[in-house]
């Protein structure tokens, strides 16, 4: 009984593993270019979040008295300019994505 149960368990396990790892080959492939754009967008979003965190930290440092107003404003301007560059890059990427989907239609 135990041997039969063990045999069944092994068979079920092997079938389940084969099913799980082969499932990507049984599906049609997605839009590779779109996936790459989405990857690039996530990367830019991470850069944007990081820049926002830096702006917040800078503001927090100013409010808790670690930075003079002059230093804070100068640094804040630089960081915001960098944030705008990232946002512009995201918009450009989105515009390219829009063109690509229009072309596909």
């Amino acid at each position: 009984m135990s041997a039969a149960l063990a045999g069944l368990l092994i068979a079920a396990l092997v079938v389940a593993v084969a099913w799980i790892v082969s499932s990507p080959f049984r599906r049609p492939l997605g839009d590779e270019a779109a996936a790459e754009r989405s990857d690039e967008r996530r990367s830019l979003e991470a850069a944007r979040e990081s820049k926002y965190a830096e702006i917040r930290d800078n503001e927090s440092d100013f409010r808790t008295g670690k930075l003079s107003e002059q230093d804070y404003r100068a640094l804040d301007r630089t960081l915001r300019a960098e944030a705008v560059e990232i946002l512009r890059a995201i918009d450009e990427l989105d515009a390219r994505a829009g063109d690509a989907s229009a072309a596909a239609r």
Binding site: V21, P24, R42, A53
Partner: protein
């Protein structure tokens, strides 16, 4: 079912090899289907190893002694809870736990990054599966937990009584989670270096996993210290043991990484250093695993000599060589974008803290491996003791505590002297007051390092308290919220910063507990007869009377006989508490042996069961050495075993043996012999564990992702501000405004 377990491990090994191949092929040919298949191999590995783990756990719960590991580390007299924990008390079972946890955490990491870093993830997947392959290979060919013996023995040897402690249910899984989590930042670092991508997203992913491994390992280390203090009967929580040190080293390096990666994130600096730290921490985690399993260094926590040393040396060699190769060949992408602006800046403070942490790690590494180094150099094995470690680690730790207070109070890039003075004034004044108190009110002036540490800790508390207070005040000025609401909003808005501050407070509290208890602990090891007393610090401890029980040990550890003492504690003539230290005696594991029936009930390992009265101010701790060494009342036991039970049934023979044991216990209670006690009065020990809980809380705040709604609001507000304040640049403002709209719509 053992056969199913063996096959499951074999399938797991084949699966890891397939997954590595699929991931690498997918990465090289940019075939998403192969990469997805490799990712699913990681999930499938977790499923298979869960099945293997369940099979082994079931064998322990069912007392199936045909499994060698069950027979060696469990028994019918081992309580169910400890039978379940006994799975990881053997080399084989703990290896299975290691790779099982690895598969679980790898699955989590691969799932969370399934739509991110598509170029890095395939390589990271193959590295994670490489670790999986290594450990399943060991399980299949070196240390199978499913090895069997037929016919099965009637009973097992039982779980080592020292491991019969509730913390053993959670301490090894926590520690192993820490170790296995370290493979994830390692894998992502390798992947990122291969594809030459160490950008913001890499930092974001790696930092979160590094923080998780840091948190798990830290809690595991603290639980180990707790177990040592409450269970090992020597009165300490840290002995600079090789295995303890092995867990501490990667923790120190990852602490350094968690700080220095912020410099890379904000300034684009220290990229080589950060890559080296993250690769080094993971390698040290494997070194720790090697030390536990190879028997190369002696330790109370290690599994003893084994054949696993060579495979681990090969793995560590490959990790070191691969890491060095990747860092050296990727120098171009790891070049710093900026240099240090000022020595009075947060990045400079972090840099100093990194140097100290790495220095501390090096000292511990040197001391830990000194037996091997000395043997290689001189041919004789020498060891360094706790005092050697203390000599070098205490000064470094003191400076680290100070830096953990200074860092949060100075800004990035450059601080002006005026601002630094303004921020440091209150904490310095608080530290000064503490110094005065140390020599007047609080009696710690006799130990200068402790005074410095207390002052440093007060400096940290005051500095971070000031940060919270100013932050809340600034928030209230703009939001008009109530102080508690403003505090919560402020922390939610910047979890990393304030979670990190809370961690600093927790660490300072841990250091206070360690410094106070290590410096001002009073200890007595004495032999007392009933009625005799001894002074331990300000307390008088009196052996009031003997205690005992048969087959009913109060700690529920499965002891057949428990003998102990009631120790009455007074202070200045006033009653404080009564401690009940005990010694537990366990069966031999060979069953009831004819002619030695009573002895076989109690001739297993005898252990001391500590009694503790703990308050925030002090701990009173007592342990009693097992009376009679291995077997108590030896002459009576020998006499009892002369009773010939041959005419009785097996059941009645056992009953008779217990009856005789009860008579022996009764004799011990009536005529208690001189007992040897270890008695301690230690200040502030409880704060070590409370500090650990605060660290855990701060770590969870720092690691917890912000709620989407809040992120959306913050994002929208910042986007609007970016657009408004840079209105002089119409193109930038337009772009920002457009993005604000799309981002708001998306969230």
């Amino acid at each position: 079912m053992a056969f199913a377990g063996r096959i499951a491990l074999l399938v797991a090994l084949c699966l890891t090899l397939y997954g590595i191949g699929a991931a690498l092929y997918g990465a090289r040919t940019h075939r998403r289907d192969w990469v997805d298949s490799a990712r699913r191999s990681v999930y499938a590995l977790a499923v298979i190893l869960t099945v293997a783990m369940v099979i082994l756990e079931a064998a322990f719960i069912r007392n199936d002694f045909s499994y060698n590991t069950v027979a060696q580390t469990s028994s019918t007299t081992t309580p169910l809870l400890y039978r379940m924990a006994a799975v990881w008390s053997s080399q084989q079972g703990s290896l299975l736990l290691w790779v099982w946890l690895l598969s679980i955490w790898s699955s989590l990491a691969i799932f969370l990054t399934r739509n991110r870093m598509r170029d890095v993830v395939p390589y990271a997947t193959s590295v994670l599966l490489g670790f999986g392959a290594f450990f399943t290979f060991l399980l299949v060919f070196y240390a199978s937990p499913f090895g069997q013996t037929h016919p099965a023995p009637a009973d097992g040897a039982g779980l080592d009584p020292l491991l019969r402690n509730p913390s053993m249910l959670i301490h090894p899984p926590m520690l192993y989670s820490g170790y296995t989590f370290f493979t994830i930042p390692f894998a992502f670092a390798v992947g990122a270096l291969i594809v030459r991508r160490v950008d913001a997203e890499w930092i974001r992913v790696t930092r979160r996993f590094a923080l998780a491994s840091w948190l798990f390992l830290g809690i595991g280390i603290l639980l180990g210290a707790h177990w040592s203090y409450y269970d090992l009967g020597w009165g300490g929580y840290w002995g600079w043991d090789a295995v303890e040190n092995a867990a501490l080293m990667p923790w120190l390096i990852s602490t350094a990484f968690l700080h220095s990666v912020m410099i890379q994130e904000k300034r684009g600096m220290l990229k080589v250093w950060n890559a080296s730290l993250v690769l080094g921490a993971s390698t040290l985690a494997i070194v720790g695993t090697f030390l536990v399993r190879s028997g190369v260094l002696s330790s109370i926590h290690a599994f003893g000599a084994s054949t696993l040393g060579l495979p681990f040396v090969i793995l560590i060699g490959a990790m070191v060589a691969g890491s060095v190769y990747l860092v050296v060949t990727r120098r171009d992408v790891l070049r710093s974008e900026h240099s240090l602006d000022s020595l009075l800046s947060r990045e400079a403070a972090f840099l100093f803290n990194n140097i100290l942490l790495v220095g501390l790690c090096f000292v511990i590494f040197w001391g830990t491996f000194f037996p091997l180094i000395s043997k290689a150099a001189t041919g004789t094995t020498s060891e360094v003791g706790a005092s050697w470690f203390d000599r070098y680690t205490v000064p470094l730790a003191l400076i680290l505590v100070l830096l953990s207070g200074i860092g949060p109070m100075i800004p990035w890039r450059r601080a002006t002297l005026a601002n630094a003075r303004r921020n440091l004034l209150t904490p310095l004044a608080a530290a000064g007051l503490m110094a005065i108190a140390a020599y007047t009110i609080v009696p710690i002036g006799s130990s200068p390092p402790t005074v410095i540490l207390f002052c440093g800790a007060v400096f940290v508390f005051a500095g971070i308290g000031q940060e919270f207070w100013r932050g809340v005040r600034a928030r209230r000025a703009t939001s008009h919220e109530s102080p508690p609401r403003a505090l919560v909003s402020m922390v939610r808005r910047n979890r990393r910063r304030y979670g990190g501050y809370i961690v600093h407070v927790g660490i300072a509290i841990v250091f206070i507990g360690v410094a106070a208890s290590a410096t001002f602990q009073h200890e007595q090891t004495v032999q007392l007869r009933v009625g005799q007393s001894v002074r331990v610090g300000a307390y008088v401890m009196t052996y009031a009377h003997a205690t005992g029980s048969v087959d009913d040990d109060p700690a529920h550890t499965g002891a057949t006989l428990t003998l102990g003492a009631a120790v009455r504690v007074t202070r200045g003539g006033r009653y404080v508490t009564t401690l009940h230290p005990e010694a537990g005696f366990y069966p031999s594991g060979a069953g009831i042996v004819p002619g030695e029936a009573v002895a076989s009930l109690i001739s297993g390992q005898a252990v001391s069961i500590v009694s503790l009265d703990s308050t925030p101010r002090r701990d009173l701790w007592a342990a009693i050495s097992p009376p009679g060494g291995g077997i108590p009342e030896q002459s009576l036991v020998a006499k009892a075993d002369t009773v010939d039970p041959a005419s009785l049934s097996a059941v009645n023979q056992v009953k008779l043996a217990y009856y005789l044991l009860a008579a022996i216990e009764e004799h011990y209670l009536r005529y208690p012999p001189t007992a040897e006690f270890t008695l301690l009065a230690s200040p502030l020990v409880m704060w070590i564990w409370l500090g650990g809980l605060i660290v855990l809380g701060g770590g969870l705040i720092a690691i917890w992702p912000g709620p989407h709604g809040m992120r959306g609001r913050v994002r929208a507000r910042y986007l609007a501000r970016v657009a408004r304040e840079l209105g002089s640049s119409p193109a930038g403002a337009t772009a920002a405004g457009a993005s604000a709209t799309t981002a708001s719509a998306r969230t």
